[in-house]
Symmetry: D2
Subunit: 385 residues, 4 copies
């Protein structure tokens, strides 16, 4: 008799995968759990780094793949992608019959997972609820909290906020973020591979031995029209600094085109001697690269989370990470060429910061797996007030 | 130049229509607003009373019709109906380009409206948020609150709850429920039409001159398997009471089949001398019928809202209206033949109750229309804590 | 090593199931084939006889279920049902990776199977191509022929027609219809069960010992508005004949509502002493019932096929079976009460006809299975002229 | 009273637009016709040249836009794109209520138009049926012929073939191809604009005054895996020829990625001194460019059609245009670097050919518009044999 709890985890994007990799491992190892891994949306697409390849290389068995990204690089397409996701995931859940569905964070398409599971009376677990930022994710994240039955949050302030939202405190757990579990692995690792050789990419190949910057800037969904202007400020600032820089292509989002087009146009019209562009990189390699970077620039949540634990200085640009808890390693600036340039110089001088546990201590995956085995199976809930 | 605000209202079911009829009229009359009426889901279907016919008879112009109900009478179908709804409504919104989208209450398919609008950066207004019940609607309703930008709630306790959910108090308005606006119209009206002649239906045609009961019992979505057992308790209780009864067919929901099948089977196997079955009835006629009923039995929210204002005694069965504010006119019972029978007898003896304003005083439609013209157009929000 | 060819068969409706039952059995028994059975559309729905229950009772393992019927009983809903079917079946085929996909006949939703398979470069086999009728099926059937790679047709004239359509004659096989395989099983069987007791249903329970009529009349899709008028002519004719009659509810199609409503209304307003209504019946029982019937009335293709082999007299009404090959057992009439009545009387007097092999001799399932194992796996074709 | 016939034309890709531009103009000018222009699929997407911009610049009013391209660059995504297209177009047709729907050619997604229209009983007109090629289009094109009610074909052999397919000869019209109408306009025009300045693009800017080659090579859908190898043969051949060359990016299709990636990789790793790459070009400018080119190389149907009329020498690579009627201007070669190189040199020496009317004489748009006004409105048809 198979009495294992079946845990379906839906991964929809490259960054979400690093957020749950140690959880997936912990579920797989757990004697009383069975992993049902579903890979969907941009995690399947070449344009956005084919997270699916890393997942398969890491040895995970994929139970179902769901293609649901509608082209259009506009907000209508984002809505439709969610609609198609619900249609498809309903069938997948109907076939796999999971005991619990796990959805991660707050990308627009995670709503599809949350709706399919909760409408089908499957208990829903949500990772990384309760955080605060300044864009559309804000609506999606808290709406998912109201659909979810269990909450695995990444910080104390997030826990407080989820409880204030009327959730049962007994089902809100501050486990820290599983992404910190990975950061712990590279804490003391030097750059031990040649990124140009291993990951290709395009552009110059500056010498990294005296240190380098890393850039990762995503479009901000509700400021669609401005994406191109934003990226250009960063491009100009970095070009002027003229130091070795490794730049990561943005992942999908409405507005992606503004950002991508901005980068492509800049490359066509400028000689850029010190910047190399990567499409993507295996998670541990990326963290190792970060761990040895002088500064991370952009608006990735990696700067807020993993870099807090690693002590890497960060220049965080614009509103995307607004109001998220952060360690001392972060300096915030606006979309402004000069401000970015100055902040980077200043952070280079600061050097590494001490460890911060604000997003957990490195065992989130195991904690969450244990809890998934223990929580009561229920999908019926009432607001607490 | 057309500087009117375009207000898209999405009606997805027969009961939702009565909830917004006076709002639709108020928008239409308002010199600075333009109504874009979208009719979708079960509101278009014959099986569920074709609300669309009443809407057209009431003289409203329909801007778009959206067929999105997937057959299957199961929870997977409910999820998919929502997915298809998002796909279709995105296109509709993309064509109509409304300034504000209005979604009503908490039926599962209203989530499609909320997601399409919020993902497309269209300000979203929600009617009847902040209430508490004991089934899946609980998840949907509060999730929509977290997606909505403006909240038009129906009672003081609902207002308090929406604010506790972290919404900006300046955009939460207790306008009362527009359904009470209609109740006000029939407050003093006697039964002035022959329901058998005007609405057909099937079954016996008992004499209504000495009073009658009205029954309206919907399946409860998260108790799918039990729908048939529930309806049979009510059927037996009413059959034993053997008094003139007008019974309304349930509207769509996962589990509808249990309820409908139960009624059909009961009719095949029992002689029922005093019960007439209706599929549906025009709103004002239905309220007039209710206003003159001895007791309303079942789990319709009409018992909680309109009947509070009208003072009609109600026997409310089961968990569907749990924790909703109610006036003194309601007696709650479990799914139990004897309990139902006793409660009905006792309520018959009570007779009419005085007016209660717990769900508003009859001008909600106009209040909401005025506010829709005045609220700032915005789709960007942050939780208040 | 598993070198069996994987054969995916998609069953979308009750009548299609009887068309392929012996093929499914033959695939299952074949040592070099593996059956992947997919049940979709109305075959899953209670309203249309839940073919899925019979399939499971017959011991078949179902690889995937696909809910894709959109409500609306109109032509827009039929189109959308097909669109949803393609979306879902693509995912199913992507997971099951069949070597050949088999689609049956010409119901509107079979197009979804044909498109998903041919667009995904999966060799497509079509059963019952090349026939001629007078309604929309005509477009669908021949379009599927042009998408299909192998053709298993049911008569010589069908074979000629498929070849004329430019298909490679080496891949067009006249195997006869698998439905005749089932007819062969009941050829000498008397009515050996009590249909009222075994299948329930509603209405009178006339004595069957002196013979009975069977009626099965479906709406005709391109004559949507007329469905109700058509069925009423038949209802009146049969009511006047006043002999024991077993009437089968129609299966889904745009216009179903006209037919169903017509039957329901007639039942409400007339005393019908000699007619019993069934929702559905297990295939072999149904054939046994037919084999012992005096006449089959309506427009079911069962009258054209199985009844040719069984020699049962048929009164075929209207255009639905126009131009299909038929044996001597069929009399055609228009939608006309008097014509129907006269033709039935005349056919009752005729009595049973001799066997006709026009649709095959009873071993179609095995022939097709053998061929599915032998045909070259290819999805690339060119018109022959 | 508006008694104009409403003609809905669905344009789904850049090349389809040039195929129907003069028809759109002729419908617009016709006093008894009303144009309903629907733009869908890749015609809306930046990646594939945003045909929608040219359409709007040409002054056409767009009645509806339909985003339905699902990402994935694989065959499953192509199938799903069709499914979503049906879902969306059904709603569009339901709102616009056209009298006739026009679908163009044989791209995989045109099937969505054909199915939505024919399932909704809207008479369907098909342009460019009856042609023969050697890939998947072969299935799609003839299947659409079997769904269509009127056929406007581009050559005599196409007309013969459509009639052989069992279509009513009275509704099959050889009007020639509307794309020739545009070719007629540029027949005597010299290159009168600077393509680099007007259309940007990337790469070298070779001097065009002594003549130039044009390349346009699309992936071939059923040879998905080989797309990259194919394009590389052409890239190498052209690079070795080392003459001024204008290269056009391929439009979307399953396998597009192989082709695009091939080009990008080649550009990264080779110095290419004489090739300029364009994403797209306004139709008339493109034809003018072609009219003055020494040779067109690739597999575009422009080489077969417009170039026949213009007399431009063509080197046609691979199977994509197999068996299509052609003039004397075409030399066919395999995917082979040396063969391509030799054929180009030989065609350069040939110089311009005389006009061929094989695809019509330049008034197809007006002929078709006239016929759309005259054909009987019907959606019911029977095969002729």
């Amino acid at each position: 008799m198979n009495s294992k709890r079946k845990i379906a985890v839906v991964v929809t994007a490259r960054p979400s995968y690093s957020r749950v990799k140690t959880l997936l491992q912990a579920i797989q190892k757990h004697p009383a759990l069975e992993l049902q891994l579903i890979v969907a949306a941009s995690a399947l697409l070449d344009r956005y780094g084919s997270a699916v390849n890393y997942i398969e290389n890491d040895g995970f068995h994929i139970s179902a793949k769901v293609f649901n990204v509608l082209e259009g690089e506009n907000l209508t397409a984002a809505a439709k992608t969610t609609g198609i996701g619900i249609l498809e995931l309903s069938t997948v859940f109907d076939n796999l019959k999971p005991d619990i569905v796990v959805t991660v964070a707050d990308r627009f398409e995670t709503m599809a997972t949350a709706i399919a599971a909760s409408y089908m009376n499957i208990p829903l677990a949500h990772l990384q609820g309760g955080e605060v930022t300044g864009n559309i994710d804000e609506k999606v994240r808290h709406a998912i909290t109201k659909l979810a039955d269990y909450h695995f949050v990444a910080s104390e302030s997030a826990k407080t906020r989820v409880i204030k939202l009327g959730e049962n405190p007994e089902l809100v757990f501050n486990t820290g973020c599983p992404s910190i579990d990975l950061a712990l692995l590279v804490k003391d690792t030097k750059l031990d591979f040649d990124p140009y050789q291993k990951y290709g990419g395009v552009g110059a190949q500056p010498d990294l031995s005296q240190g380098y910057l890393v850039v990762m800037q995503h479009p901000v969904t509700t400021e669609y029209q401005d994406s191109r202007r934003h990226i250009e400020q960063t491009l100009k600032a970095i070009a002027e600094l003229d130091v070795p820089t490794l730049w990561f292509w943005p992942n999908v989002d409405a507005g992606a085109d503004g950002t991508s087009t901005g980068i492509r146009a800049f490359r066509e019209h400028h000689k850029i001697e010190q910047i190399h562009f990567f499409k993507n990189m295996e998670g541990i390699d990326f963290l190792t690269l970060l761990n040895n970077a002088k500064v991370l620039i952009g608006n990735s949540s990696v700067g807020i989370r993993e870099c807090a634990y690693l002590g890497v200085p960060v220049v965080n640009i614009g509103s995307r990470q607004n109001k998220r808890d952060r360690g001392h390693n972060v300096v915030d600036v606006d979309y402004n060429q000069d401000a970015i340039k100055q902040a980077v110089s200043s952070q280079v001088n600061e050097g590494k910061f001490p460890i911060s546990n604000v997003y957990g201590g490195g065992n989130a995956g195991e904690q969450i797996a244990d809890l998934l085995q223990k929580v009561p199976l229920q999908f019926h809930k009432t607001i607490t007030y």
